[in-house]
């Protein structure tokens, strides 16, 4: 029998259909691998019994000839998605003991397609971070290490546990969420594919809210085809999310024709930033060459407001976060820290329940929204955001997709950059602009650094044109033929 944890989702579905193995065997292999990889701290909650039950039901359906499209596929779920009856922590102390009495729309869609849940993955607290080090449950670790250097590295963030789980072969795929790069940057750091679809493609209902005008669910997988397969079963209109868009969901895998002849790809001049490693520059150049070799036409484009994207994001996202996180008050769910009166109870609960980075962002958000500053900060950021979206709109008059690196550096060591919030924020310099404009974007592994760490290439497309993004990503994937795997040094 094949190494069941090394398969892609597409290969696993084929193997199940041909009865080469059962869903029970597939899930059992993942449950064992998940237990062996606990030093990675990729999962906050493991749900092996539930996965095994789900696999039984999937095998029974298949035996009756009623197999569902993802029947028996074991997935990891970022612990920001509410899952009925299963603890949902957002990696925060303040959600202690919270068991949602409902299921998020995206996970409900996946279970309806037959997928089964292995567990809930680690993340930066409330998805605020780029390193998965702000989790109340401890840092998740990147399964990759630098050659000849045993220091543990960050998996990126905020969907760091999901990225680590997929890279370490302890899930066939995972859900992530992306507010400013939280799917794509960890995807790049862990050598996997991560896709943020267009804002509105996936329902946000039942996903713990961080910044509602930016949050979007997406797949994290080991191939572009798997991302296409997963996205199809995550996306779709949901009346419970007023920003979810009533558009039919295409068969994304059908878009992977490998044919990008004549595709016009823009290379934004402004993405050549200070502090970008020479290896990242070289990979970007290589990506351009790969696309051209496949018949695409690349050209320089200008996105003039790029340098303002990060400061814009760091007004808008904390502002929305400070509003969204107002609900954690010790009354309806989660942690309550007693106080002499109601006001003290609020102050104590929120003071103790939120970690340092979350507190910092709530304070920034509260400050920029406070009386007298709202126009200067929040409205100004909204106006610059319009200009950033306009930059993309005019670029897409002459190109069909945009190619950039995913992150300016490869994964860094746990603890590095943690004393300088702005240095940490700069990780998202290439991913934040597409988030502000709501555009679909993907990170594809492109190669390894000299010391053996994965780097990602990043493609951005027009709103709702995930298909072009996936098609071009498939071409990059084939050209890069990224087959390197982390070495499994997490085993005790």
């Amino acid at each position: 029998m094949a190494n069941l944890t090394g398969l892609s989702i597409a290969e696993a579905l084929d193997g199940l259909a041909r009865r080469e193995f059962s869903a029970g065997e597939l899930v059992q292999a993942h449950v064992a691998a998940m237990a062996a990889a606990r030093p990675l701290n990729a999962y906050i909650t493991e749900t092996p019994e539930r996965a095994i039950e789900g696999a039984k039901a999937a095998d029974a359906r298949r035996a009756r000839g009623e197999a569902l499209p993802l029947d028996g596929i074991p997935l990891a779920i970022k612990d920001l998605y509410c899952t009925e009856g299963v603890p949902t922590t957002a990696a925060s102390h303040i959600l202690d003991g919270f068991k949602p009495p409902y299921e998020s729309t995206v996970t409900a869609n996946l279970w309806r397609a037959g997928a089964v849940m292995l567990g809930k993955t680690n993340l930066d607290e409330f998805a605020m971070g780029s390193s998965n080090t702000t989790s109340y449950y401890g840092a998740a670790r990147n399964p990759w290490r630098r050659t000849g250097d045993n220091r543990p590295l960050v998996p990126g963030g905020s969907s760091g546990g999901s990225a680590a789980a997929v890279a370490a072969r302890i899930a066939l795929g995972a859900t992530g969420t992306d507010t400013g790069g939280s799917i794509r940057q960890p995807g790049a750091f862990c050598g996997i594919v991560g896709m943020k679809p267009t804002y509105g493609r996936c329902s946000r209902w039942g996903i713990v809210a961080f910044a509602s005008s930016l949050d979007q669910a997406g797949p994290m997988t080991r191939s572009v085809r798997d991302a296409a397969i997963m996205l199809r079963h995550m996306a779709g209109h949901d009346p419970k999310d007023s920003t979810s868009v009533p558009r039919p969901v295409p068969d994304y895998a059908a878009a992977l024709t490998g044919d990008i002849r004549g595709l016009r790809v823009g290379i934004p001049t402004e993405y050549r930033v200070d502090g970008m490693s020479d290896e990242v520059t070289a990979l970007w150049r290589q990506g351009i060459a790969w696309l051209e070799a496949a018949g695409a036409k690349t050209r320089e484009i200008s996105l003039p407001h790029t340098k303002y994207a990060l400061p814009t994001y760091y007004i808008i996202a904390p502002a929305e976060a400070s509003s969204n996180l107002a609900r954690y008050d010790g009354v309806r769910y989660g942690l309550r820290v007693p106080g002499g009166n109601l006001r003290e109870m609020y102050d104590n609960t929120r003071g103790e329940g939120f970690g340092a980075e979350v507190r910092r962002r709530i304070l920034i958000g509260t400050y920029v929204l406070s009386a007298g500053y709202y126009d200067a900060y929040y409205l100004k950021a909204g106006r610059v955001r319009s200009l950033i979206a306009r930059d993309f709109a005019s670029a897409f008059e002459t190109v069909d997709a945009i190619l950039t690196p995913t992150a300016p550096t490869p994964a860094f060591a746990i603890g590095e950059k943690s004393d300088d919030p702005i240095a940490m924020y700069l990780n998202d310099v290439f991913t934040v602009p597409a988030s502000l404009a709501g555009l679909p974007a993907i990170s594809v592994p492109g190669g390894l650094t000299r010391d053996g760490l994965p780097l990602g290439l990043h493609l951005i497309g027009r709103a709702f044109d995930e298909e072009t993004v996936l098609r071009a990503a498939g071409v990059l994937e084939t050209a890069a033929s990224f087959t390197a795997e982390p070495q499994g040094r997490w085993s005790p």
Partner: protein, 95 residues
């Protein structure tokens, strides 16, 4: 806009979030640094530019004003730190 300790304490109070006195100095430095960094937006000319209010062009959907959900008090209260007789319970607010 320079941020001082008093401003941070005031904002923390507005956010209903206790910040230990010992952390105030460090936080004041960090917030000041972040705020002065985002203030570079002032150099962008946004004359006549409307702030973005909708990320994708979509009309806000409407539905009939009818009750479509509810009727499960126990589920709603299941996660409450303290519930009583079908209500959320909080510390006394009236002496």
């Amino acid at each position: 806009m320079a941020i001082d300790k008093a401003t941070v304490a005031k904002v923390a109070a507005l956010a209903r979030m206790r910040v230990p006195e010992a952390e105030l100095d460090a936080l004041t430095g960090e917030l000041g640094q972040i705020i002065s960094w985002v203030e570079q937006l002032a150099e962008v000319d946004t004359t006549g530019v409307e702030p973005m209010t909708s990320v994708v062009a979509v009309d806000l959907p409407r539905r009939p004003d009818a009750v479509t959900d509810g009727g499960y008090c126990e589920k709603v209260l299941a996660n409450a730190p303290q519930g009583m007789a079908g209500f959320f319970a909080v510390p006394k607010v009236i002496e």
